[in-house]
């Protein structure tokens, strides 16, 4: 098997006396959808936070293309081509979809006005419209502030923003938790489209049938450690649940 795009080795993270990660490992390859599952408190969100730069691990290392990297902030992760869709969406509710898509990466006008920081809102709206339509997201009123959008539309904006900027890897923390059946299908389609572009996607989810339907591979966390990894094909919900709850340790060999 080729070298993983991103690897984590022996990550440790403490919050006070709580050990959220206790030597967690993780692998994801380019063009692969990996589902990260585990019971509440298994350390899924913490692992994603460490890998996406919002939290720093107390010990362990992260390798990108086999080289050790230091991801000290979301900004550094972004520069490495790693984007994250956070569980709490991390959108600015008082800005519109286009402004959110370009937040922190605004397009400025050319020439002197640009150097003074004048924004090119037309270019950003056009870019946003293109990014949304590429993902099959129909945002009928792109000038509406995010606070006035429905839950599904907000989710679409958050996913579209990450996908638009990611060149290597996208983390999605419970991207369908707040969605109905139809939008969930849309978001899963988007995740497949990300993979088809050769970008890796890491999906955190509690929904086992969904995980088996969309992922290529599943990594199971328990008590802050990776306890199992399965190919999606041929794996059953029962196996996943058994690994999550600890009634079985590594029932299948690492793929």
């Amino acid at each position: 098997m080729s070298e993983p795009l991103l690897q984590a080795r022996g990550l440790v993270k403490h919050y006070g006396h709580v050990e959220a990660l206790r030597g967690a490992d993780f692998d994801v390859h380019a063009g692969e959808i990996v589902a990260l599952i585990g019971d509440n408190g298994a350390g899924k969100s913490t692992l994603v936070k460490v890998l996406s730069g919002t939290e720093r691990a107390d010990a362990g290392e992260i390798l990108l293309d086999g080289h050790a990297v230091h991801i000290g902030s979301p900004f550094e992760a972004q520069r490495l081509g790693i984007e994250t869709v956070y569980q709490d969406l991390a959108l600015a509710p008082d800005l519109d979809g286009a402004a959110n898509l370009y937040l922190g990466r605004e397009i400025v006008r050319s020439g002197l006005l640009g150097r003074l920081g004048f924004l090119d809102d037309t270019a950003m709206r056009n870019g946003a419209r293109q990014a949304f339509s590429e993902l099959g997201v129909d945002l009928q009123n792109a000038q509406s502030v995010v606070a006035n959008l429905s839950g599904g539309q907000r989710q679409s904006v958050a996913v579209a923003r990450s996908v638009a900027w990611a060149s290597r890897l996208v983390f999605l923390d419970e991207p369908t938790a707040a969605l109905g059946v139809l939008q969930t299908g849309r978001v899963l389609d988007v995740i497949r489209r990300i993979r088809d572009r050769g970008i890796a996607a890491v999906l955190i989810s509690h929904n086992m049938p969904q995980v088996l339907a969309v992922a290529d591979r599943i990594e199971v966390l328990r008590l802050g450690k990776r306890v199992a990894t399965y190919p999606a094909a041929g794996t059953t919900v029962d196996q996943l649940v058994a690994a999550m709850t600890g009634s079985l340790e590594q029932v299948a060999p690492v793929a």
Binding site: A92, P93, L95, L103, G117, L119, N148, S150, G152, L182
Partner: protein, 343 residues
Amino acid sequence: MNEDATFPTTVPNDPQRGSWMRRSVASNTTWIFLVLLGLVALFSILRPNNFPTEFNIRAIATNASALLVIAVGETFVIITGGIDLSVGYVLLFSGVCAGQAMNAFGDPTDKGWEVIGLGLVVALLAGLAWGIVNGLLVARARVPPLIVTLGTLGMSWGLAQIISGGQDIRYIPSLMATVLGAGRIVGVPWMVIIAAGVAIAGTITLNLTRFGRYTKGVGSNSEASRRAGINVTRHLIRVYALGGLLAGFGGFLSLAYFTTTTISGHANDNLNAIAAVVIGGTSLAGGVGTVVGTTIGVFIPSVLASGFVIIGMQAFWQNVAVGAVLIIAVFLDQMRRGARGQR
């Protein structure tokens, strides 16, 4: 969550929906503009010969000028979700420093623009320094802005009195008083032109530049802004610095207008500036606000002050009215936010 049943939902922004209350509070700027018109109409009807005169309108506008300048800075601060209680006394402190600087070469009455320019620079630097102190304490030391600026309010007030020995500086270059303070061009006072220029620059900055976009982003969701790669700490320091800089400029304008530092005359500046911003539709919760709204908001205290004097009421009623309007404005803003949050 039922609204999500079909994915490409239309934006649920139908103006026909919701109660009369919800629709009317939805557009705070329009609402407050109508209140302003109502006040003007009321005073005009009560005193048709005294209130709606060219002289009085000019006086109201000139009185409001320095307040508008500090309220523009306050608008940016409040949009970040913060507050700056210190502006009134930073204004005073800056005016005192500028006055001292202009008096450093003897009687300044006959001095020219170079001394006035020195006064301006000193005022701006003094204001900027307080703004940077506020910004560093809020953004870097993470002390709540209410406490930081309450502290710098006291400090700037005290230091202004120490520097001036508690005595008003009564001599400024007469050119400054006659041209800047009292001069006009085609009937419009220079004070009003300058304040309008600051307001226009403020509205352009807020709506068309990256600085304005970051201000709204940070106020709307500072964690999201941080994750999006915005240097939130640096931006907050800049916003408070801008607030201080404009308070310094307000101090210079106030000195030109009153021709004295009026040490005892700035007790209401904080109330009036914050009230103007909040009345104008800027949310204390952050993320939302306009300089246009603030400009309308600034005229509420000014019109009330003038109107109360003209109809023979004690001018102190202005403070009572502004305080009440401030609370009502915040109440309506919370109702609007609450209605939105239930989506």
